[in-house]
């Protein structure tokens, strides 16, 4: 808890800068309005107006908070205006894709560690693929699936799975190889079979790497889902909220959707971190 005070200070500074920036960026509009109606604004009135515009260039923090409150608690959960509803649509696709992607990644990693040909064939491409902006294929996947009559959760989940697949694969291969020669020799001297070596040595020692890459993968899966919700026609999900907000100039809506997305990402990463702590403590690996 040593860091609480510094972190709070930084956060307070961010909010303060945000307010100043909101006043500055919205001032042109307010000044124009005042000039048009030929009124002279006092300092207090001027600031009050910059912070309470309907479509501000930069909404003030309390406006975003109000938008968030209204979106989360002010609507029925089933309503199309509810951020909980949109958030759930994004979250379900993210989780489905994340599950598919990480299971496939773990499976392929197991194959790669046990088969040399597979290792030499797949690994260079898997590593190289990390430098490729895969996210660019998102709109194409959505449209291709839509033309085949498949819409809804599945296409987004596939993008999310694709994005979470490679980090898990690379991390897990590294993890399954961390067992050092000494430990492998010990297993040999106990006459352990291949599967015993895998279940009792390789798999347990890969856990820290697995969890580290799962955290990266879940964040990537969320980004993938949100971008998958962008192409025209999408009407549900946080990505669609962002896009419609940008079409209609509803800045408060964009910021509110953004904060829900941030909260989702933070929640997912935190959840995996919590499972990681539990698992590692149970295995006696916690440091």
């Amino acid at each position: 808890m040593r860091n609480t005070l510094p972190v709070l200070t930084v956060l307070l500074a961010v909010v303060a800068i945000w307010y100043v920036a909101a006043i500055g960026m919205n001032s042109t509009w307010v000044r124009d309005q005042a000039a048009r109606s030929e009124t002279v604004l006092g300092m207090g009135e001027f600031v009050r107006q910059t912070l309470s515009l309907d479509r501000p260039v930069l909404p003030a923090p309390h406006q975003v908070a109000a938008g968030l409150w209204d979106g989360v608690f002010g609507q029925k959960i089933t309503s199309k205006r509810s951020l909980v509803w949109h958030g759930w649509i994004t979250l379900s696709a993210t989780l489905a894709g994340f599950a598919i992607g990480s299971l496939a990644g773990i499976g392929l990693a197991v194959g790669i560690v046990h088969d040399r040909a597979m290792n030499q064939s797949v690994m260079p491409w898997a590593v190289a693929s990390q430098t490729v902006p895969i996210l660019a294929i998102a709109p194409m996947v959505i449209v291709v699936f839509a033309s085949a009559g498949i819409t809804g959760l599945l296409p987004k989940a596939i993008i999310a799975a694709w994005l979470s697949f490679f980090p898990v694969l690379v991390g897990m291969v590294k993890g399954l190889r961390t067992a050092d020669a000494m430990q492998l020799d010990l297993m040999r001297s106990w006459n352990a079979s291949r599967s015993q070596v895998f279940w009792r040595l390789r798999l347990p020692s890969s856990m820290p790497y697995l969890f580290a890459s799962l955290k990266v993968a879940v964040a990537a899966a969320l980004v993938g889902t949100i971008v998958g919700e962008l192409p025209a026609g999408a009407s549900a999900g946080l990505g669609a909220r962002l896009l419609s907000g940008s079409y209609y100039g509803q800045t408060v809506q964009i910021w509110a959707a953004l904060f829900v997305a941030a909260a989702l990402a933070a929640g997912l990463v935190f959840l995996i971190g919590w499972i990681e702590r539990l698992a590692l403590r149970r295995m006696g690996l916690a440091r």
């Binding site: 040593r2 860091n3 005070l5 510094p6 972190v7 709070l8 200070t9 930084v10 956060l11 961010v14 960026m25 260039v57 040399r116 040909a117 290792n119 030499q120 064939s121 797949v122 690994m123 260079p124 491409w125 190289a128 990390q130 430098t131 490729v132 902006p133 996210l135 660019a136 294929i137 709109p139 194409m140 449209v143 291709v144 033309s147 085949a148 955290k215 964040a219 969320l222 980004v223 949100i226 971008v227 962008l230 192409p231 025209a232 946080l238 962002l242 896009l243 907000g245 940008s246 100039g249 800045t251 964009i254 910021w255 959707a257 953004l258 997305a261 941030a262 990402a265 933070a266 990463v269």
Partner: protein, 280 residues
């Protein structure tokens, strides 16, 4: 019936690789990876032809290559707009800002303890989401894309640079102190060089982020050129070969970008253990 040749090619490629993999030399490793890639391409081409898969679902590699050679002018224009103007300028600005910030907060442990958790937290967030806001602020042209890239690359580089500046140990600092080196001298001669491996780690991670930021930001509005614009409009016209050609450009650009940064890293941090020639 048409599945038979496809399976035959797959088994043939696999058997060749299984045989080659036993040699485990530098050349054989390269060949194995190459053969795997080529086999996948052939299988792709064969599957598309054998089952007459419509182009709007999956174009064959040959169609993509044809589209690539026909549209070089368009692709080059998009490359300049998105990669050079949007991603690269944003990446340079963001990296410079992050390095400057890291050095500025270097003397204040209080700010570091405050900024680092926040930076780590922000680095995990879906920052691409700010693209619509920045497009509203900076307009449709490349400036808004560069702004998105700046925000996306800032925090990962900042976190790495701060860790790098803390990478010297007490003994080395004491040594500088015994030579009566002032703060700036010990920064320039000891701590900045020691931070380079960390900095380049951050720079390499963010090359991909920069491309993603520049491409995705174009989905929210762009002039009538750029890779993101081309992808979304070509998808709308069901011109899938052009989309795949565009993705090919993105892949090449991403690999080149990463490769160039890795090459510079090799020159700058030649002394680091990870750069030594591996034996055996």
């Amino acid at each position: 019936m048409s599945a038979l040749p496809i399976i035959a090619v797959w088994l043939g490629g696999w058997a060749l690789n299984a045989w080659l993999a036993r040699f485990d030399t530098r050349l054989s490793r390269f060949l194995v990876a190459l053969i795997f890639g080529i086999t996948l391409l052939i299988l792709w081409e064969m599957t598309v032809r054998a089952y007459a898969i419509p182009t709007v679902i999956l174009p064959a590699p040959s169609q993509i290559a044809a589209s690539f050679t026909q549209n070089t002018a368009i692709l080059w224009g998009d490359f300049v707009q998105t990669i050079l103007k949007g991603a690269l300028s944003g990446w340079v600005l963001g990296a410079a800002a992050a390095i400057a910030t890291a050095i500025a907060i270097d003397r204040s442990p209080f700010l570091q303890r405050g900024l680092l958790p926040v930076g780590n937290f922000v680095a995990a967030l879906p920052i691409v989401g700010i693209a619509p806001i920045l497009v509203m602020w900076f307009g449709f042209d490349w400036q808004s894309k560069a702004a998105v890239v700046v925000v996306m690359v800032f925090f990962p580089i900042l976190v790495n640079m701060v860790a790098g500046l803390a990478a010297t140990d007490q003994m080395q600092r004491d040594q500088m102190a015994t030579w009566a080196a002032p703060y700036w001298q010990s920064l320039a001669k000891m701590r900045l060089p020691a931070a380079m491996p960390f900095l380049f780690n951050g720079l390499k991670i963010t090359t991909t982020l920069a491309l993603i930021g520049a491409i995705v930001a174009e989905f929210f509005g762009s002039p009538t050129r750029g890779m993101g614009f081309r992808i979304s409009t070509a998808v709308g016209r069901l011109d899938l070969p052009l989309v795949w050609a565009e993705i090919l450009v993105a892949a090449i650009a991403g690999s080149l970008f990463y490769g160039i940064v890795a090459l510079i890293e090799k020159k700058v941090t030649f002394w680091h253990p990870s750069q030594r020639k591996q034996r055996g």
